[in-house]
Symmetry: C2
Amino acid sequence: MTKQELFNEICAKKSFLCTGIDPEINKLPMHLPKTIDALLEFNKQIIRHTRKYSVAYKFNTAFFEQYGSKGWEVLEESAKFVPDNVFTIADAKRGDIGNTSSMYAKAFFETMNFDAITVSPYMGEDSLRPFLEFKDKWVIVLALTSNPGAKDFQYFEHNGVRLFEKVLDSVSKWGNENNLMFVTGATKTEEFEQIRKIVPDNFLLVPGVGAQGGSLNQVAQKGINSQLGLLVNSSRGIIYAGNGEDYTEKAEKAAQFLQNQMEPWVDAVCSY
Amino acid sequence: MTKQELFNEICAKKSFLCTGIDPEINKLPMHLPKTIDALLEFNKQIIRHTRKYSVAYKFNTAFFEQYGSKGWEVLEESAKFVPDNVFTIADAKRGDIGNTSSMYAKAFFETMNFDAITVSPYMGEDSLRPFLEFKDKWVIVLALTSNPGAKDFQYFEHNGVRLFEKVLDSVSKWGNENNLMFVTGATKTEEFEQIRKIVPDNFLLVPGVGAQGGSLNQVAQKGINSQLGLLVNSSRGIIYAGNGEDYTEKAEKAAQFLQNQMEPWVDAVCSY
């Protein structure tokens, strides 16, 4: 998917919501059997009932890998169920030496046809390069993450430049705004102004709204750029909004609630 | 597997060789069909013919994921084929926020019963913690990698401390020598003395001998500690040693060649 196509979808849906599909068998709604087949059906129902409000779906590979090859099948089937005009992200946090990263790129961009994959920057340029060679595919690089451990290494500083700033600065030169996004946590909005100075034009994938405590309005106020430039993710807040037979309605309402909050921000950008 | 059990295996085999299983269908020996089933059989044959000389097997998940859920099945089956007394490593380079890392730990330690998983340190303590809670399981954290991109961020320096040193220092305090190893590339032996000052007792997983250009003797000379403390990996040099019907013999000889070079180093440690 191109940046323009993503922007068009944002304006059409008046939303920059990314719904995170992080399912667990033992958290399925009470009335559903606790099986891997029920998990796939759950994912499809969640997608069916939230796609009106979601411009992207993020699949966290860990949640599928815990169920082995059967889980990997469910990942493939669930991702296929997302409509073509909606952006799909494999939240895989991969990254390895060049020839290995080529395999990951093949796995997620060709075998599974995701639009994007999240990647850790630790191993440097040759670990990201193979992902950037795919046309109309995206690499989403971890910069400043939403979790407590972000402080351990991401703020490590050299001459006033912190590691996450160095990552933003270096990585943004290896690609461009049409194939690179960055992960910047919603719990770190105090840094968004500085982040936007380094990467004014790239999309930011922002997790951490909801369960992790980030504020949507703070994120929007500080992160939006001329082509919106944000995908804000909510996982648990949507997929586990309900636990009964009405779980699809509850998920739909949770997605709609976030879309409603996003609408004025989108209007301000798309009406130009 | 415990550290003592690993050390016993090293002394018994007079080897600290880790054979890397990174197979590709289009690189299978000429006479084999280019199918996913042949790939599994290839892996089993390689393991059967190298296990006499290998104390560990490292499975690079990328090579399996490129084939989707079928590839993931082959990963599961191949790993099961390794004898119980041999150390198994999922070279997965995972790492995510705490609740997600728990899923990865479950995937690799429970569902697939690997002894160890490689993890990227970028997201900090809570991204590693869930892996460290498993008894007799190991986390192998990227410190100084063997690839060219290692220079991009791993040498980023604060007050004379480089990022990979900071990673070694911080991470080694989150676990101990019985559940933590570090990845240090064979192409970076000029740093091994410094690395051993920070983590004298931890095992090091050392890729980069062979195809990437690292020297086994340099690695041994600078990296060995009182319980040997090294797993040196070779992947392509072993599994692709031959391309004909004698590929199993060629792989066996390649593994034996490395074991022979390792033997005097092991003798010097195990005879104490």
